[in-house]
């Protein structure tokens, strides 16, 4: 039988189901547990936490999750790859090593610590040497926001993950390593793929993309025949069984809920997709138009035929910067004429904001139950709707107008249209907006400073 490497998804984002990693480890054979925590905005949230507490800045969920499974992964020889380190991978590694010691497993855990993605302290140097770090979407130069930057991280690929595994790490903790690199790394390490074998690199990247959002490829958020998806209360997270030639099976543990089929895998493949012929990662480029899917038994889909192209000379950089303030408030209006009442309340509110001379970059009104998600495509409002939620958001560069807005909602209860309720939550909170600035940087600036350390308890 051909040798396969099993990589199981344990988390698809920070906030995902806490039981999933435990079930992946206990529910059947796996070789690797892949724990993805970082979305585009997560790094800035973590940076904010670290600025208040130097020991923070990583996905804290990861440590108790590891504590629950450490005995099992040691006993079974399962290895873990995770970008839970956020902007403080060393703090995260230390916390995991502490947990291992508490469990008496100190001698059995070797943490591979990957750093060097954090380039916040190097930005001025990079700018001074002509790297413009323009916004990939708008083309604006970084100098526009230089004084407001909160975090800056280059997306690293699978290479440091492979290096950590080669060094004997059984838990690899990284900062901003790509979601796909956490799956590709184990495959390259175990199957002996060359880093310039572009088809295999592309195949491992697609495997990573399929499982990086957890159960979203195994029945969660599945639109096709959603009523027929059974057992989501104990949904099985996806597992990739990869072979040396780059083909792989997507599956889940027996006895778990959800479903792995052509529909579930295809929906995940098109998720957050740009140009399908050119899915660019630090490790190479995958051509999604070459993917061949085929059913391979109950809850098994085979994936093959994937072609790739060489990696580019650039790495993506994720920069978070202070943008301004926002607040969102809601009130609920009841039948009859719920929508009309909510609409009148919105008019009154806006007139009061204008009378106060408040200036906003944006005021956005949605009527939940009528048009909040589909806008005018939802058609004319239903005059008989049992209730409609008025949802108003404001955004400004200054805090003061947003603060004042949060005090203008409650008065509507006694000074606006009738049949209003749902204000028990109190005033809306003013939120600081930390926005995302994607850019590119020459990989030669980053790769020499990436560090891999092996830490033992």
């Amino acid at each position: 039988m051909t040798r396969v490497v099993r990589v199981a998804a344990g988390q698809g984002f920070w906030g995902d189901w806490l039981e999933a990693p435990v079930r992946q480890v206990k529910g059947g054979p796996i070789d690797y547990l892949m724990m993805d925590y970082l979305a585009e905005v997560t790094m800035s949230i973590l940076q904010k936490q670290r600025s208040r507490d130097p020991g923070a800045g990583y996905a804290r969920d990861f440590v108790p999750a590891m504590e629950r499974i450490l005995p099992e992964i040691v006993a079974k020889g399962i290895r873990v790859t995770s970008n839970a380190g956020g902007v403080n991978p060393r703090g995260c590694a230390d916390a995991v090593l502490d947990a291992a010691r508490r469990l008496g497993l100190g001698g059995r855990i070797r943490v591979g610590l990957v750093s060097g993605d954090d380039i916040l302290d190097r930005l001025d140097d990079l700018l001074a040497r002509g790297h413009e770090l323009r916004d990939l979407d708008t083309g604006r130069p970084l100098s526009d926001i230089r004084d407001r930057i909160r975090s800056a991280n280059a997306y690293l690929g699978m290479a440091p993950v492979v290096e950590a595994l080669r060094g004997g790490a059984n838990i690899v903790i990284t900062g901003r390593v790509t979601d796909t690199g956490l799956t590709l790394g184990p495959l390259v390490h175990e199957l002996g793929w060359r880093a310039d074998d572009w088809d295999r690199i592309a195949a491992g990247t697609v495997a990573g993309h399929i499982i990086e959002c957890g159960a979203q490829s195994s029945g969660g958020n599945l639109l096709k025949d959603w009523r027929r998806v059974r057992g989501l209360e104990r949904v099985g997270f996806p597992i990739v069984e990869a072979a040396e030639d780059g083909s792989f099976i997507v599956t889940k543990h027996p006895g778990t809920g959800g479903v792995v089929n052509l529909a579930s895998v295809t929906e995940q493949l098109v998720y957050e997709m740009g140009d399908p012929r050119s899915y660019i990662t630090p490790d190479g480029i995958a051509d999604f138009t070459t993917i061949r899917l085929a059913p391979a038994g109950k809850d098994r889909v085979s994936v093959s035929g994937i072609r790739g192209a060489p990696r580019t000379g650039m790495l993506k950089v994720s920069i978070a910067y202070f943008y301004g303030y926002k607040a969102v408030g809601t009130l609920v209006y009841a039948w009859p004429d719920a929508h009309a009442k909510a609409k009148e309340a919105d008019r009154v509110l806006r007139a009061r904001l204008t009378d106060l001379g408040l200036e906003f970059e944006q005021i956005l009104t949605e009527f939940v139950g009528a048009d909040a998600t589909h806008g005018r495509l939802a058609g004319p409002p239903d005059a008989d709707a049992p209730e409609v939620q008025l949802r108003v958001g404001v955004r400004a560069r200054e805090r003061a107008p947003v603060e004042r807005f949060t005090r203008e909602l409650a008065p509507l209860v006694l000074t606006g249209p009738p049949s209003v309720t749902g204000f028990a939550g109190g005033r809306p909170q003013v939120e600081e907006i930390v926005a995302y600035w994607p850019a590119l940087v020459d990989r030669r600036e980053i790769e020499p400073t990436v560090r891999v350390e092996i830490l033992a308890a």
Binding site: T266, Y323, L364, T373, L377, R395
Partner: protein, 139 residues
Amino acid sequence: MSREKPGGRRAKAGSGRAADRPVPVQLRWLAHARSGDKGNTANVGLIALEPELYPLLARAVTAARVARHFRGMVSRVERFELPNLRALNFLLHDALDGGGTISLKTDAQGKVYSTALLRLEIPVPPAVARRFRPRASRR
């Protein structure tokens, strides 16, 4: 409900008897979909429910048609084809009020633009309409 008129102007008239004339069917009966975001752009992957429906989708659900569907909600639409997955991928630019943390929208990350696209009606041959559109549904 889409505001496009049933039997709309896109239907190829003059193709013979009335019984052969294309019938408008909402995409929800012909495809499934998932959407996500990249900055201020939403993407919608539209996947044919059956392999034989893919050519129909590829012909009728053009970038221009989708741009008209979402007029006033997005600035520009790009389309990519994935015949291997029987899917089309649409990029809806400037769809998310700034996107990410800036957006004030309920759907700041474009998660349900997918089903908004499924409201679109396209003309299909009567036999296809009979097979895929539930009898109870008029649209």
